[in-house]
Symmetry: C2
Subunit: 479 residues, 2 copies
Amino acid sequence: MFRNTMPRYDILSEDALATLDGGWRRLVSEVGVEFASSRALDAFAAAGQEVEGSTVRFDPDFLTEQVAQAPGEFDLQARNPSHNLHVGGDHMAFAPVYGAPFVREGEVRRDATLQDFRRFAMLTQTFDELDSAGGVLCEPSDAPLDSRHLDMIYALQTLTDKVYMGSVISADAARDTLCMTEILFGGRAQIEQTPATVALINCNSPLRWDDRMLEAQIAYSEANQPVVLSPFLLMGAMSPVTVPAALVQQIAEALSGIALSQLIRPGAPVIFGSFLSNIDMQSGSPQFGTPESAIGLLCTGQIARHFGLPFRAGGALTSSQLPDAQAGYEALMTLLPTFLAGTNWVLHSAGWLEGGLVSCYEKFVIDVELLRSLRHEFTPLEIDEDALAFDAHAEVGHGGHFLGAMHTLERFRTCFYRPLLSSSDNFERWIKRGGQDAAGRARDISASTLEAYEPPPLDDAVRAELEEYVTKRRSELGD
Amino acid sequence: MFRNTMPRYDILSEDALATLDGGWRRLVSEVGVEFASSRALDAFAAAGQEVEGSTVRFDPDFLTEQVAQAPGEFDLQARNPSHNLHVGGDHMAFAPVYGAPFVREGEVRRDATLQDFRRFAMLTQTFDELDSAGGVLCEPSDAPLDSRHLDMIYALQTLTDKVYMGSVISADAARDTLCMTEILFGGRAQIEQTPATVALINCNSPLRWDDRMLEAQIAYSEANQPVVLSPFLLMGAMSPVTVPAALVQQIAEALSGIALSQLIRPGAPVIFGSFLSNIDMQSGSPQFGTPESAIGLLCTGQIARHFGLPFRAGGALTSSQLPDAQAGYEALMTLLPTFLAGTNWVLHSAGWLEGGLVSCYEKFVIDVELLRSLRHEFTPLEIDEDALAFDAHAEVGHGGHFLGAMHTLERFRTCFYRPLLSSSDNFERWIKRGGQDAAGRARDISASTLEAYEPPPLDDAVRAELEEYVTKRRSELGD
């Protein structure tokens, strides 16, 4: 795992933090948060909060007390122990694109299929830059709706040996994820002791948690599996148009969700979530890679640390319809601040295109290049006498070159970042090699990676038990 | 002008700075710096430095004393006062690509011509994101070599009304630049009082200043025009392969050049220069947008501030052969740290492609988009009660949307960054509008910008005097 030991780029003053603090306190106590779940409402009422209809108005101090019970850092186990994760502190975990109904491969944009899902799982398994197998790598439109989650979890469990994200479309789907995770890890006690899956719980912003998400959240928190409580804020639509207002709303929503998990199971692991960008006020379309989203991300990191919580934010987001220059700069416009903020859980860190509607093979490879490069960039310099290379200067003198210097020869294999995708070929060599743009080369890398894919070993008995579970449940669900 | 009042992202500890300080002191005193100019050598000898052949070994304290005479900030006048510049402090000035022998426009890559030079000058004049007209926007191969500088300066002076960069190919060319600048600004006294042009003086790294550059530097410093003393460091070739060694060398080279300017004219304005990246150790090709160059840039800012000097670094650099995804992410991989470091003079901030061999029309527009977006991103948030939008929440409640909220309606025109190039059109609308990638749209913007170009007004008498000077000098130079 990558540990980001570089400084954080904090841009909020103490005064600004205090103003935001006053803002969320007023919001939760005066406007409150809606919970479409009687279990949640009962729990908050029993804890002394003001419940009116499905709206809970909170004592802000109650929220901070609940939040204080959540662990600041926690472990996640993978079936391959070398892929175990630590969430929080200076650790950063990267997961691929999540939730896209379409895929793009070269010139073709089409409905995503289960085969696409599997292929994205294979890419995710292969690239070391991705720590988690992710969850809904794309929406497999050719798999039956009611049992689709079984196919996805099974693919993630068998084609990868990394930590996967659980299904959240219903309480049943969450329970299926938990049952299949128990099979893979040897029982409920095993996964309650060290969690083995993580679930993305989106808020129906503004200030409302929906029933299916809440049911899934409750199932995961009861089982001690971490949930990412994610306000879903496209400023102008789901939040006001000013970043400070969005931040205040984000705190109110995230803390209210986190408090519920703590009531369900005190000490349950949670991640402070953020999905924060804005719409185009002319067209209403979501925009990604915007300056506003970068600013929001930097602030979010500072706020999450203020509450002592691991946080999710950022990714390789873009509005672009193609893996072109816009996709490249927009992805980095979010991904570089993702590192500057020291983000602990980074969803959508590879493959996201067209505002999240498309999982793109070429973009996946482009983003892996960015992740590789940024890991290198956010590794502190070693500054000692040896690195100053005085002897090399004494050897080379004035106006010479260092290509053959001893200091160079001793280091030339590892001294610089070596790109996966980027080309620095001179024009003639580049033409000779086919004169492809980055998207074309990315497509080749994606194809050769899939070709070289090898499935991680899995015990036959465990595989059989998983298959049996999927078959049984598929039949129960009527597919 | 853009003032960057966001925090600086400083990554060097006090200990690290002290180690680097020891490094350059040892380098200048033990290995020394070569100056291919008897005037420079005489000046250093007269100032008590050890001169052996063309090598000067310095007392490090002598260098810091000289450097302390240079102004920490200074003004530059443009013929349009609204384009006057301030160099240093939190001000950032942006100039376009410099020095490319080729141009790219769409599918065509060709030798640059004087017409290309003029067209890039017209783009630079039009976009507010560029503060300076730049210098060698491309190398016009169809203009005679000996008098080419006259054509370029004349084009910059007449097609733009922004601060231009002076010719440095020889002492004569520098003097021509100064004479033409005197004509434009009304005499030598006018430009000595407030400088009106700035010159890029590259070091022949490692540790050698060449004769033509030195002659140009001396001419500009005598006339009180600022010079950018730029170590030219592609690690692995012109410097050792470790960033700390490159930083130490950069300090040694820059300070030695700055000291010369101070001996020529105490208090002459200078800019601490940096051009710092690395080569590919397999092919020997220069690489740009690398993690090493980003780290070097962040350190450079911290070092320049340590010496109280304005600094030049960064830009929209890329190795890519096309304005593709790689060009987008590599440009931002340098440009975002350029802002994080608070760079005062940013050369190559628009149009650079293919490692600086190509000035590209489409890339120019892509980079202008990045500059616009980053200016927005590096503008501090206003965090007050109004920005918290409590009333909007009270109005919208739970699960609604903010599109029609009063707070939104009052701000919707200006609340978010509005892109020049980036598209967030949904797929259907994007197809309907032509389904172009970012490079294609950038080409359209470049073409329409050139079409709409209007030359800034210029006094007929001044224009005639400039033309007369160019004609006379062209004939003297035998072209």
